[in-house]
């Protein structure tokens, strides 16, 4: 299957000229996106499992997506218009007039504010076409492989829902300020929901994984992860819980970081980070928290963001101290910090918004196994508990915005293991990990070398972490 073709920058410039002529807008920007997705869904009634993956009972959707968005206006009046289908021809903008602009403001980045003029190269730009028919066969084989291997490991596991999406998208943008850019991405995601019952105890496991292509998703490791989680979720509660060290897996580390992600952005995010330390380091010297829109081999890696501003690595926390803020082009130069491309659109219908792309805790030097076996008296928490709590609360400030990070508390329900002197004493089907954000960061004692990313949305990454000073309690 071939992509619908993206218009060239010349077509976009012609369209921009027509829009300005019709509306009288001082500035305008056009963003065009095309994509295709092949979705394979599997429901409980579609099992039992056939021998041949091609006979696997599934529902398939083949989706072609295509749309564009226009932003036009200036200091007092503005317009946002999004529509599906191909970009109108230059004479197709007749419905626009000066009255189409309504009260509002529009500011657009210019090459002078740190953007690259001309077409910026994208590391994934060569992926614009792929054979989705082959991907359907490969997708069925992956789902079949997961079900077969899980059946071997844990016959009592029951599928609730499975969904595999493979797809690619490409976008082009141009503005009257001279910014242009193209991006192309490929992504495969798998979302699986299983339940099991052992000795009358019900347990659930939901797994959501992503990779740049389908071949990077392994049926064996996915089945192993699900079996491991279901085994823990259906285990009896431990007679006691040691409240010493807590090691958290990369998966749970990602959820913890995701709770903080929205609060680390922009000028406010920088203020919160500075206040969090209160004159002391935020965490151990090996702690790095980085957002990198151009991360090598990242799922969303692109040379520039969805406004055409070049991306780069931004170390929010560097060597345990506040590093630099994640600033959009509008705040370029604020307090002497440079902007980075960090405004993204969730689709062609959406306006660009400040958000992270590959936010992660940088990998350390320790092997995860040595972190786990090094626990003297504590827990190893593997993942979130299904339908359990996972939230952070912050006292609102007087102006209604989110308050300081330091006073913020988090609560995460998790599944894991009770460990003493490196030996597993038993399973913990549901424990509640609580503490303040300050305790969370300052309590980091070791950072593993197994950095892993999860879709969160965007990409959030963490390695195995050893934490102290947090509260852990068993819950029913």
């Amino acid at each position: 299957m071939k992509f619908a073709r993206l218009p060239g920058t010349r077509s976009l410039r012609l369209a921009l000229g027509a829009v300005r002529e019709r509306t009288g807008a001082p500035g305008a920007e056009l963003y065009v996106k095309v994509g295709n997705t092949r979705r394979i869904e599997i429901d409980p009634w579609m099992t039992p499992l056939p021998v041949d993956p091609d006979d696997l009972d599934t529902q398939v959707s083949i989706l072609d997506e295509r749309g564009w968005a226009l932003r036009a206006g200036g200091a007092n009046r503005a317009l946002f218009l999004a529509d599906s289908g191909p970009l109108p021809e230059p004479n197709g903008w007749r419905r626009l007039s000066r009255h189409s602009l309504r009260p509002g403001t529009l500011r657009l980045p210019s090459p002078a504010s740190g953007t690259s003029p001309g077409t910026a190269p994208s590391p994934s730009a060569d992926l614009a076409e792929h054979d989705t028919d082959d991907e359907e066969t490969a997708g069925r084989a992956l789902l079949h492989g997961v079900l077969r291997r899980l059946g071997d490991r844990m016959p009592e596991a029951r599928l609730i829902r499975g969904r595999l999406d493979t797809g690619a998208s490409a976008a082009v943008l141009a503005s009257t300020t001279g910014v242009t850019g193209r991006t192309a991405l490929r992504l495969a995601t798998v979302e699986l929901d299983f339940a099991a019952s052992r000795d009358g105890r019900q347990g659930h496991s939901r797994l959501y994984r992503a990779a740049s292509n389908l071949q990077m998703l392994s049926a064996d490791s996915i089945a192993s992860e699900i079996a491991e989680r279901l085994t823990l979720a259906t285990a009896p509660a431990p007679p006691f819980l040691p409240a010493g060290e807590v090691a958290v897996s990369p998966a749970l580390g990602c959820y913890l970081l995701a709770l903080l992600a929205p609060l680390l952005q922009g000028r406010d995010g920088w203020r919160r980070l500075r206040e969090l330390g209160a004159g002391r380091p935020l965490g151990p010297p090996q702690l790095q928290i980085v957002d990198d829109g151009a991360l090598d081999a990242g799922w969303m890696s692109a040379a520039h963001d969805d406004e055409g501003v070049p991306t780069r690595a931004v170390a929010l926390v560097r060597d345990g101290e506040p590093g630099e803020p994640l600033l959009s082009w509008e705040d370029d130069g604020w307090s002497g910090f440079a902007a980075a491309g960090c405004r993204r659109r969730s689709g062609w219908r959406a306006l660009p918004e400040l958000c992270h792309s590959h936010l992660h805790i940088g990998g350390g030097a320790e092997a995860p196994e040595s972190i786990r076996t090094g626990i003297v008296h504590g827990c190893y928490l593997l993942d979130r508990a299904h339908d359990g709590r996972c939230h952070a609360t912050f006292e609102p400030s007087t102006n209604g915005s989110a308050g300081s990070l330091g006073e913020g508390r988090f609560e995460v329900d998790a599944i894991g293991l009770v460990i003493r002197r490196g030996t597993v004493l038993g399973e913990a089907p549901r424990v509640r990990l609580t503490g303040t954000v300050r305790q969370l960061l300052q309590g980091i004692r070791a950072i593993g070398d197994d950095l892993r990313f999860l879709p969160a949305p965007g990409a959030i990454g963490a390695p195995t972490l050893l934490l102290t000073g947090l509260q852990v309690e068993a819950i029913a």
Binding site: S61, I62, L79, F80, G85
Partner: protein
């Protein structure tokens, strides 16, 4: 005025000629077990953000089509973001698995005009809501985002074309210093904004109160809260795909879920004026479906695929969030039929109990039947009815216990409890009409 405008828009067809695609679909059928369906969709959303927001007015329009093959309950769907003959032919080829599946020339498909863009009613929402709040002798800062949603749908199945459907409704998001209220409204007229103002004032008065833990006493749910309760524990629980997680969906028919005062109907035809549906998103005629009749399950919610698997089930409740999603059985407009008890008598002998006017969130676990309902605030019931405000209330209970606790149903049903249902990530507007209900002896879990 508005009903006339909507009437005219309902008559407007999304595509001008249904015969050509209908004829093309018949050519796809290879044998009697196959059904083919074409779904044409046009969506418009106009958003007005609070003053000072960049790009304050945001207009999103989209149209597209999907072709689906249903065979032995399984679907294969192909969708495109444009309505045209070549796009239709390409989708047919993809679901049929062959090139030129409907012949060499794609059918001619022409679309009608978009409905006229009207902004005035959205622009007046803020001042109307402010006036409704001020009438209650309070005032506080509010940031209001108002949206109007319009959707036109045309479904063609083989040679049968269902009547085109048109929906128009509004959504509001009101941000105050103590939280965000969000919900759906059939219009932005004063009578629909007044209940919103009441919710906002209740939240103001309970803003700093600690969470309330309901005991085993009486709980009276207002119409909005009763609608959310029934959406979770009756509608979701009786969707064929939910039922299939724990057994055969048709085996629940006849099962007693509640007392004889519970008569619950799903009827898309009696939804608020501009949201009425005569057919579902699969082109099947919508019916008035008894979900519970005197407390017993009568007819679960089913779409075509589930009705094909279980012949005793009746399709007509198939809904899709967009052309890119497969349809699933969902409720559209839930009604709890009124009881014989006057509204004020629901509060009799309920002193010390709790009155809940609205739930902001509800969730049903389809495996163990546990339900969680969260209310931003409540009110203590005094000698004459609701009196002192309380903080947030969370009810955790099993669905069967919640229904068994319904001891009385009021006699005055009101439209309310409308909201977005987000099951499986597919966002769908749902409507309801309920009287107040009284719960007694409810087992509340921690």
């Amino acid at each position: 005025m508005r009903s006339n405008a909507n009437g005219a828009e309902q008559q407007r067809r999304l595509i001008s000629d249904v015969a050509a695609p209908a004829d093309a679909l018949t050519r796809l059928v290879a044998h009697g077990d196959q059904q083919f369906e074409a779904f044409f969709e046009r969506v418009e959303s106009v958003e007005l953000l609070p003053k000072g927001a960049p790009n304050r007015v945001r207009l999103r329009k989209e149209q597209g089509l999907a072709v689906r093959k249903i065979e032995n309950g399984r679907s294969r769907l192909a969708a495109a973001d444009t309505i045209s003959g070549p796009a239709f032919a390409a989708c047919c080829d993809r679901v049929a698995g062959t090139a030129r599946s409907i012949g060499t020339a794609p059918p001619r498909i022409r679309t009608g005009r978009w409905p006229a863009l009207r902004l005035a009613e959205i622009e007046q929402a803020e001042s109307r809501l402010t006036r409704a709040v001020n009438r209650r002798r309070v005032g506080f800062p509010m940031e209001i985002t108002a949206r109007r949603h319009r959707r036109q749908v045309q479904v063609i199945r083989s040679r049968v074309a269902a009547p085109p459907q048109f929906e128009e409704y509004f959504s509001l998001q009101v941000t105050t210093p103590w939280g965000v209220w969000g919900g759906l409204l059939p219009s932005l007229a004063a009578e629909d904004l007044d209940p919103v103002a009441l919710c906002l004032v209740d939240r103001l008065r309970s803003r700093s109160l600690p969470p309330e833990r309901p005991g085993r006493g009486v709980i009276v749910l207002g119409p909005n809260a009763a609608a959310v309760l029934l959406h979770e524990v009756v509608a979701h629980a009786l969707e064929a795909d939910t039922l299939a997680l724990s057994g055969s969906p048709d085996q629940v028919v006849g099962l007693r879920l509640g007392g004889p005062e519970l008569d619950v109907v799903d009827d898309p035809r009696s939804a608020p004026l501009a949201c009425k549906r005569s057919s579902d998103d699969e082109g099947t005629a919508a019916i008035s479906r008894w979900l519970l009749r005197r407390g017993r399950v009568r007819q679960p919610l089913a779409d075509l695929a589930w009705a094909e698997r279980y012949p005793s089930m009746i399709p007509g409740a198939g809904r899709r969030a967009s052309r890119h999603r497969l349809p699933g059985p969902r409720t559209t407009h839930l009604e709890l039929l009124p009881g014989a008890i006057p509204e004020r008598e629901l509060f009799a002998e309920a002193a010390g109990g709790l009155y809940i006017g609205e739930f902001e969130r509800g969730n049903l676990d389809p495996f163990d039947g546990r339900c969680v309902l969260r209310a931003p605030c409540g009110r203590r019931i005094g000698a004459t009815g609701p009196s002192d405000h309380t903080g947030p209330v969370e009810i955790r209970s099993r669905a069967v216990d919640l229904l068994a606790a319904v001891a009385a149903v009021g006699d005055r049903p009101l439209a309310g409890g409308a909201g977005w249902c987000a099951k499986d990530g597919a966002l769908l507007p749902v409507w309801a009409r309920c009287p107040s209900v009284r719960l007694e002896g409810l087992e509340v879990a921690d």
